[in-house]
Structure formats: C-alpha cells, structure tokens
C-alpha cells in the first residue's frame, strides 16, 4: 500500500489531493472514535457505564448520533454578535487541527507530506486554534465568552513556548526538523534516552499540550463551573460541535500523534527485537497512540482545574525555565557525551 502510493504515476498535485481526501475522511472518523473513547473511558474511570444504547453494542454509535443531532440542530446566532467573525471562528479552530494530521508519520512511508521543516510547520499550525477561540469569544457579545477568550489568549502565549522548547530539544537531539527524521533518529528506549532529558521534555510537552487543548486541569478557557463554556457559551448546533467538541477530540488525537512521534518512537516497535519488525509500523503507531490518548483521558477527569494566575505562574515560573534549562542540558549532551552513549 505505501509503495503503491509512492509509485503512483501521477503528478504530485494529484497525489496530494488523494492524500488530503484520505486525511479528511480519517480525521472525522478518528474524532468520532476519540469521542467514543472519551465517553467510555471517562465513564469507567468514574464508575459509570457511559453510553449503552445507540448502535446496540455498548453504544458504539453514540458520537455518530450526537454528531447527526448537532448537525441537524438550529444554528442560533446572537443578535448582537459580530456575525461573520462568529460564523467563521469554528472553522479557524477546526481547520488547523486537520492540517496537523498532514505531517504525522503513521508509518515510514505513510505520511501526507514529509516536510523538511515539519516541526516548524506543526508548531506554527497548532497555535492557530487559539486565535479562533479568541474570535469566537470576542464576537459572541457575551461577558462569559469574553473572559473565556481572554483566558485562552493568555494561555496560548504562556504554553506555546514550553511546547516549542521541548520539541526543540527533541529536534536538537535528532539533528533534523523533519518529522520522519526525528522518528528515525530515536533509539530504544525512546523516552528514556538520553537519560532524563527525554522524559522531562515529554512531561513538559504533555503539560503544555494539555493546556493548548484546554483540557483539565488547564481548561480555564472553557471552565464550565466558572464561565459556562467560555468562548463557546453562545454557540449551538454544528458550529458548537466543530468549534468545541470535534475540535477537542481531533486536537487530542493529533497531539497524541505528535507525542508518539517526538518521544515514543513513532511507528517503530517498542523493543528492538527482530521478530517484532514483522508487525507493520501502523500497528505500533496506533498502539502508542491509544496509550497517549488514554493518558489524556485519564488525567482529564481526575484533577481539579487550576486558577488562571496559577496557570500563568506554572508556565512562566516552572515550564519555561525548565524547558530552557533542558535545552542547555541537551546541548551539553550533544557536545560532550561520549560516542558510545549515543546509541
């Protein structure tokens, strides 16, 4: 299959189009599956069953049914809203998340486009949704939405840096900005080598990505007990689900993919044992992806949320100095670590 795509005798544009169509179908399906996982995993963590009816078997079609319901619902736009901004804000949230999927290598060859500056691309694109949230909040003509939007903007500024810096650490160690290159450069045991650096970078990346996605414990922009759903207070129907719910799950899966790619060895087997290479890379990738998604889902219902000022404190006083220090350590490792330690 990968070979087939690579050898397809068509212009690059055609190939790109086909790949895009694949992504555009895979992502919503993935988001639906992610939504279902969200329902079920959270329910069982909370000693519940979650959806049990839609579709018959353990409510597998629940998110599908939800999606259809939301799509069919009336689209209400507040009278005082800034209508064009209000209308397009969900698109600006959702489309960049789709674009993230373009550079995640599911297998060595199974990637939409392996950019030379893949890492830059990823980080640039991943920060756009926050602008959409700001737009949504500002245009809603609602005080709660405004507070949520401002919180979101503050959060974006605070948490973009740790993510960038921790990814930069990885890029330094790998010696490349290409995403496939990063995967290839990682060695067993991925996360724990070089000792300490990988793990700390992973933790910083994880915390930053949770904040970036507005998941608990950093979900202040949508904190429902404080400001209803923040920027999405006035949204309903399809715009709500694309701006909030779909975006959240799609974002979560995308970031899980990134974490797998940067830290967990991507599509490579978890142990460097010859027989395991028979299993295709996509299976390994999916397995690792599930673990990451579960991690996000596990943290989500367990923790209370921080306060806005505490979040800022945590970012500026904890994560950013930490990640800067980590870059120093990584540089020292690159310069001074003896050759035999590298592999």
């Amino acid at each position: 299959m990968p070979e087939f795509i690579q050898n397809f005798e068509l212009t690059a544009w055609w190939i790109l189009a086909i790949k895009l169509i694949v992504v555009l179908t895979v992502v919503p399906v993935g988001a639906l599956a992610g939504g279902y996982a969200l329902h079920k995993v959270m329910a069982h963590l909370q000693h519940r069953l979650g959806p049990m009816y839609a579709g018959g078997f353990h409510g597998w079609a629940q998110t599908l049914a939800d999606g259809i319901k939301f799509v069919l619902k009336e689209d209400i736009i507040p009278e005082k809203a800034d209508k064009p901004v209000f209308k397009y804000a969900p698109a600006i949230i959702f489309i960049p998340i789709l674009l993230l999927y373009l550079v995640i290598p599911v297998d060595r060859r199974l990637i939409v486009q392996d950019l030379d500056v893949g890492l830059f691309y990823l980080l640039a694109v991943s920060s756009i949704p926050a602008i959409g949230i700001l737009m949504a909040g500002w245009s809603s003509a609602n005080k709660y939405a405004l507070i949520g939007a401002l919180r979101s903007a503050a959060q974006l500024i605070a948490y973009e840096l740790p993510i960038v810096l921790s990814a930069a650490t990885v890029a330094m160690l790998a010696g490349t900005l290409s995403v496939v290159g990063i995967v290839e450069a990682q060695d067993w045991p991925f996360l724990f080598w070089p000792p300490g650096i990988g793990l700390i970078a992973f933790i910083i990346f994880f915390a930053g990505s949770v904040a970036e996605m507005n998941l608990p414990p950093f979900d202040m922009p949508v904190a429902e007990s404080e400001i209803i759903t923040g920027a999405f207070t006035e949204y309903s129907g399809m715009r709500f689900i694309f701006g909030y719910f779909f975006a959240e799950t799609a974002h979560m899966i995308a970031f899980s993919g990134l974490a797998v790619t940067f830290f967990l060895g991507g599509y490579r087997p978890i142990v460097p044992w010859e027989p395991l290479t028979v299993i295709p890379g996509i299976v390994w990738f999916m397995l690792k992806l599930f673990v990451m998604v579960f991690l996000y889902l596990w943290v989500r219902p367990t923790f209370p949320r921080l306060r806005e000022d505490q979040l800022q404190k945590f970012a500026w006083k904890g994560l950013i100095p930490g990640s800067l220090g980590l870059i120093l350590v990584a540089g020292a490792w690159i310069l001074y670590a003896p050759e035999w330690l590298w592999h």
Partner: protein, 382 residues
C-alpha cells in the same frame, strides 16, 4: 509580563481610584452551573478580580413562614422537610422537638436512638453531596460519581424505612411514624461502613491533591469575628476555628452518649471548611455505628394525643443541621396550627457573609468560595 497582583493590591488600587481600567458587572446566575439552585451574584469584576459581589436571593421564596400558619402540624412536618432538600430528616427534628417541649411529650428511647441513626445518615447524605459538588465546581467531576454511589446505598436504607428518598416525612412529635423494617439496620451499617472504608480513597482525589490545595488553601478566609457577628454556623463556622456544635454544647436526643469528635479547622479558608466537612462524615458514621449498636427495644411513638395541638407558649428549639444551626421559634396560641413559626435556617445566615468574603478574590476563587459555603437555595429562600 505584568506583575501578578494579589487581590489585596487590587482592592487597594480600586479604593484609591488609581486603576485606569473599567470595571465590568458580571451577572452570575440565577442560572449558573456553580450555584446550587437559583442564586444570583452581581459581581463587579476588574479583569479576573472581583471588586464587589452582592448576592441576590429570593428566586425560590415560597413563604414557608406564612404557609405554615394555614396548616396543621402534621402537614408542616412534610412541608419543612422540603426546605433544605438535602437534609429533610434533620429539618423535621427541631419542629418535633419544639412540639414535644410545649406539649410535654416524652419520646421513647428507641425512637430517640433511631432518630439519631437517621439524622446522622442524613448528615452523611448531605455532606457527600457537597463533597461531590465541591469537586465538580473546581473542575474535578469524578468525586461526584463516587460520592453519589455511596449516597445511593445510604439512600436505599433510608427509603426502606421512610419510603422517601429526599423528603422523608418520618418524624412525628413524640417519636417516629413507624418502626424501621427488617433489614434496615444491616443496610445502614453496610452503607455507613462502606463510606468510612472508601472515604480515604476519595480524599486522595481531592484533599491530598496539590492542585486542589492551590485552589483552596488561604482562599476565602472567614474570620472568627465574622462567624460570630453574622451568626454563621455548621461546618463553615467550624472551619474558622469556632467549635460550636449543638450536639456537643447542648446535647439533644441522646447525643451525649456517643463518642464523637467535632472536627475543627483553624484558618477559615476553603480548605479548612472542606476538610471539616469530609471529617464530619466519618464522625457521623461513627455515631450511626454506635447508635445501632446500642439500639434499645420498645415502641417508637410516645403517648401522643390524636390531634397535635400545642398549648399556648413560645419556644425556640435548635438542632445541628448538616449545614449549621437550624432553629424553629414556635409561638403557639393553642391551635392545631402554629400562630407563628420563625424558621431560622443555617444557609441564610451563612450566605449573608458572602459579600465580605468574596471582596477582592478571583473569579475562579469566587466559585471555590461559593462551593465551600455549603448552602442549599431552598434553605436560604424558604
């Protein structure tokens, strides 16, 4: 990066008029996820900081004090259990005690002990509810489900005895409506022990959690002086180091025979209030165990006239409700109906202190403080 100001700084700046920014009035409620009912808070905010907060109540005012003047005592018993819908059985008790005082009815021992069992179970029900909702208000929704599972078992025991899940209507002047059914005691013991056994785990979820501590420690400090001046009572007052508990100070029923502690906080912040609440669950569970162990045999209803008709007189009877001191000032002119029944509900006094506590806190803290001022709207509005 601007310097993060403490609430005190901002309050001072606002007072000096030196702050150039404009204040915004944020209307929290009457329909808001963090208020347990139709409770409205007019918050004047400056960015994320509350400059002023004014609670607006009365959306649920049902005029109990007037309604009871047209109803006889049996009907009132069922009415008052709807005031604080989380502690229905506790609400009924002071009314029964007031009538027993005026009519000089003696309550049989079995009834007294059973009352204690059910009162404390009701207290656990109530506290677990606030344990659940406080977590949910801080963003941790999982404790809600765990607490509700424990509540369910207790509630089933209560239902098997009284037939109701929230409004028990089981209290009668002179005792109880009827005896408990077989299996009640086993179920009650089981459910209560379960709570004790599992509560530690759930505490790990919240009380031991660093994020929770960041959100609650030194937030919303209520001083001892405020407690006294506003008449704040219950776990909120005890969180501020006031050790008043009617069960200990003026023991009613048979509370003086049980070995239990009154957990007391010392700094009056949200954490202490919550800590007191959680530990009261354990103490209540201990009382239930002791009361069941010592449950005497006998009737559950004393010698009560057919028609409950209090003689002329006035009495104030109070009891330790889960949320604080609940008292009834009963003025009877000898009729089947009270001439006047002043209902002193704990939440009304407790909530009246909120403007002082909320001044100068963050919006997020406002939610934490509202959550830690365990109140029930029906109890405020009556």
């Amino acid at each position: 990066m601007t310097q993060i100001r403490t609430p005190e700084d901002v309050a001072r700046e606002v007072a000096e008029g030196g702050l150039a920014t404009q204040q915004m009035i944020l209307n929290v409620g009457p329909q808001h996820p963090a208020t347990h009912g139709v409770f409205r808070l007019l918050a004047t905010i400056d960015g994320e900081i509350l400059a002023e907060a004014e609670p607006v109540i009365g959306y649920m005012h049902r005029g109990y004090e007037k309604l009871v003047e047209a109803r006889d005592y049996r009907q009132i018993t069922n009415l008052v259990s709807r005031m604080d819908w989380l502690s229905g059985f506790n609400n009924e008790l002071p009314l029964a005690m007031a009538l027993e005082t005026l009519m000089e009815i003696e309550v049989p021992p079995r009834a007294q002990w059973l009352r204690v069992v059910m009162l404390e179970m009701n207290r656990i029900l109530n506290h677990l509810m606030f344990f659940a909702s406080f977590g949910a208000e801080l963003g941790a929704i999982t404790p809600t489900f765990y607490a509700f599972r424990e509540r369910e078992d207790i509630q089933l025991a209560m239902e098997s005895a009284t037939g109701g899940r929230m409004h028990f209507g089981f209290m009668r002047p002179g005792g109880l409506k009827e005896d408990v059914p077989r299996g009640f005691i086993a179920q009650a013991l089981k459910s209560v022990r379960q709570v004790i056994a599992r509560l530690d785990q759930y505490e790990d979820l919240l009380v031991g959690n660093e994020i929770f501590k960041q959100r609650t420690v030194d937030v919303g400090v209520l001083s001892r002086e405020q407690v006294m001046s506003y008449g704040v009572s219950g776990p909120i007052a005890r969180g501020s180091g006031v050790s008043d508990d009617v069960r200990k100070d003026e023991p009613y029923l048979v509370y003086d025979r049980f070995d239990f502690n009154v957990p007391i906080g010392h700094s009056g912040d949200c954490f202490d209030r919550f800590w007191v609440l959680v530990h009261e669950v354990v103490e209540s569970a201990r009382i239930v165990e002791q009361a069941i162990e010592g449950l005497p045999a006998g009737p559950v209803l004393g010698k009560v006239p057919r028609v409950i008709q209090a003689p002329e007189g006035e009495v104030y009877v109070r009891a330790e409700n889960p949320l604080g001191e609940l008292g009834y000032y009963l003025a009877s002119d000898g009729d089947r109906r009270p001439y006047r029944l002043k209902i002193r509900t704990p939440s009304f006094n407790n909530v009246s202190v909120l403007p002082e506590v909320l001044r100068g806190t963050f919006v997020a803290d406002m939610i934490a403080i509202l959550g830690s001022f365990f109140f029930v709207l029906g109890d405020i509005d009556r």
